[in-house]
């Protein structure tokens, strides 16, 4: 009686919600999310991920190919998008209504997204006028679970003058990744394309908001997948 009559749809735990979110982000470009990528994003040991992956695929939230990685099922994707909606609305609310700034807001939203009710999220969304973008410029999924697909382009193709958010780095090579991190070119960073040399030349960019200049060679620029950011202000507080 116990196993069969047990609650068919138990609410997701905090951890499950976190796993689904990072799997969504890691596999959003179409591939598999690997165990060690998930582990490093969540700052847990790889065996913890293996254990959770087992549970999540048992409950139908992900698809697991051993030694390859995982992808979300339709149901897992729905839950992931629900969390992302919560997170982004929270970030926007905290910056617009409570004077949070850009950097501090993430950690707060990260904790709150597991605790707020759907009712509260929708009230915040109303108070904010059903916003479409969070303070980082990321699109907010609808309550129905739809999200504007950010069309990514490699930095090498971006027009001069464009404001971009770096979203994805298309390599696993440690040396390249280390170099990019040193340059401050990591996912989430905002940049403006200031110049490009002809004949497959390098791209010059400046970081936002610091304004620091960077020169990115053609090969690297092809690995930096970016999203064009709308130029209007998204709720950065007056201070």
């Amino acid at each position: 009686m116990s196993a069969l009559t047990r609650d068919a749809n138990p609410p997701l735990t905090r951890s499950v919600e976190d796993y689904l979110k990072v799997i969504y982000h890691l596999s959003s470009q179409g591939g598999f999310a690997t165990t060690s990528d998930i582990a490093s994003r969540l700052e847990v040991a790889p065996p913890s991920v293996s254990g959770m992956v087992k549970r999540l695929s048992d409950t139908g939230l992900i698809e697991h190919v051993p030694y390859r990685g995982v992808q979300l099922t339709a149901q897992g994707r729905r839950e992931a998008l629900r969390m992302i909606r919560r997170h982004r609305i929270l970030e926007l609310f905290l910056t617009q209504q409570l004077g949070y700034d850009w950097d501090g807001v993430h950690a707060e939203a990260e904790r709150l997204e597991h605790a707020v009710s759907d009712v509260l999220i929708e009230r915040m969304a109303s108070a904010l006028g059903q916003p479409q973008y969070d303070p980082h410029g990321d699109p907010i999924p609808t309550a129905a679970g739809e999200i504007e697909e950010a069309e990514l382009m490699p930095l090498s193709d971006a027009p001069v003058g464009a404001k971009l958010e770096l979203r994805q780095v298309g390599t696993q090579d440690a040396a390249r990744l280390r170099y990019l991190a040193e340059q401050g070119l990591t996912p989430g960073v905002l940049i403006v394309v200031s110049d490009r040399q002809p004949f497959n030349g390098p791209t010059a960019v400046s970081l936002v908001p610091s304004g620091d200049p960077r020169i990115v060679g053609r090969d690297l620029a092809q690995l930096l997948w970016c999203r064009e950011v709308p130029v209007e202000d998204h709720g950065r507080p007056a201070a």
Copy 2:
């Protein structure tokens, strides 16, 4: 090495925070909080309480007298008041800024109080103008951990016309408690004293907001400890 070098002040868990809060409420009138009272408030089984009580007294948050009950230590009281501050500020914020009503707000605050940072709470407090009372009229502890001691008086002593919140029922007698619950006279309820007969006669009250009348005999009225409620509106939304 492991036991000794282990984190000396680990953050409190959700459960611990909940236990401290109910122990605070149950022992606020000076007595002990008993195992079964704690269990029924938290809706857990008594053995779960025994287990937690052991852990809490090991970590110095409570004082336990076996088969008698528990009381908070100074440290436990500090933590309990911190949670109560969070809870009450959240309730006020949700009612004043997001259109929550009186009854719905408690459950939401109950979940959020474990997730919000101190920074967020203080920002909410600022946005609300450093309020002193929550939407139920309960005093909000200061960030420093001080709380206005609600001076309780028995209903039998309350002046006619006073608006009161019933805070504590001074008996454990099941028959009396059952009767009072039937009459809707339970802690948290608001009443207005409408009349009192002379020579130790009964007190007539009406319930707020329903307006239902009740007659309370002298003996019972002496058991009903009440707090006078300031008459101004505390943020009940326009709807």
